[in-house]
Amino acid sequence: MEIDLIVQNILNPPILFFFLGMLAVFLKSDLSIPQPLPKLFSLYLLIAIGLHGGYELSKSGLDANVLKTLSLAVLMAIIVPVYSFFVLRMRVGLHDAVALAATYGSVSAVTFIAGITYLRTIGVEYGGYMVASMTLMESPAIIIGLVLLALFGKKDEKSSRTSWGEVLKEAFFNSSVFLLVGALLIGVATGEKGWTSMEPFFGALFKGILTFFLLDMGIVAAKRIYELKKLGFFLIGFAIVMPVVNALLGMGLGYYFEISQGDAFLLALLSGSASYIAVPAAMRLSVSEANPGVYLPLSLAVTFPFNIAIGIPLYFYLTNLLWG
């Protein structure tokens, strides 16, 4: 892999601040970002990418290429949790396997944001509709996880499950999906005029807010690293190998169906990312037997840092090889 790609990715202030946050924990610094600021930052980032994606979508419109890309995103969101579940069942109990499959079947918005920031830095174009792809990939894994549990769980368990209505509500109306869809639609409706009026806040300040958010994520991820000791090689290996497999599959599909390099890179990155907000909350409600001490540290402390440090340049390098 070209070393330049890794350097370009790492030598990016927001990514370096992520590692600075981790370093603060390892060196036992008292650095912390007071709550609820990180929650505000995450809302800002969701609105910013939703609005910008909507604006881009208003320019490109919904053509066959866009629909093809969105369909591939949904396809990945459906198949990843299914095969992940069967891989996990070789070594992991039913409930943890369901929660992990859903976690890895869904996506991480911040990984996606780091990906588009990288593309902008190196000047590679991508479609604004990729924000819609990300939104579409958030929820199916939750439903698939519950279907798997219904199929493979004990009969007495099925009857005592949390109601489907509650889980579907969590899957489709959780704050991140709701805000992303809302911002995307507002971006489409207001078009260029809307984006120009919002750009000073949601465009110009984007990297600064992302830096704050990633600094906090670094602190959160590093605190969780200590929990990994109990999890063993299989799960830690899963948290690195499975995202790469998922990304390669997403990239392969993108190549086969001839989507653009930027879009395929983002599809691969999304396929290889894991949720740490929407899915864990839904899993705590619907599969309370699954241990959050397993799926949260794996997603936050292994897969997220792996993707933003190594995954992004690796997937881009591979798309470079394929798309030439």
């Binding site: 912390s32 709550q35 990180p38 929650k39 995450s42 906090d216 994520m217 602190i219 959160v220 605190k223 740490y276 907000i277 864990p280 909350a281 705590r284 409600l285 309370s288 959050p292 001490g293 949260l296």
Partner: protein
């Protein structure tokens, strides 16, 4: 009178309050994002995800009300985890 205190995960607060309401208890206090250490290890209040944060809820009720909901609370705590502490209490006149 009894003071009933709960420490439960944030994602289950709505469910617990619903159960209390079902049993006729409509007055309560919720303190969000509490930190501490217990059987499940250290719980922080600084995560972006609500999954790892705990909430503190307390209410005061008649002993008969507590007896009526005691079994349901046990089932709830067994399923979703958390702690419930009951103590004698009274209001200052």
């Amino acid at each position: 009178m009894k003071k009933v205190e709960f420490i439960i995960e944030s994602v289950y607060v709505k469910k617990l309050l619903g159960l209390l309401k079902e049993k006729g208890i409509t007055g309560y206090t919720v303190i969000r994002d509490i930190a501490g250490c217990g059987a499940h290890g250290l719980r922080r209040s600084d995560d972006i995800t609500d999954v790892s944060s705990n909430n503190y809820i307390f209410t005061v009720c008649e002993e008969e009300q507590l007896l009526l909901m005691r079994d349901d609370l046990r089932v709830f705590l067994k399923k979703y985890g958390g702690k419930c502490i009951v103590s004698d209490a009274g209001f200052l006149d």
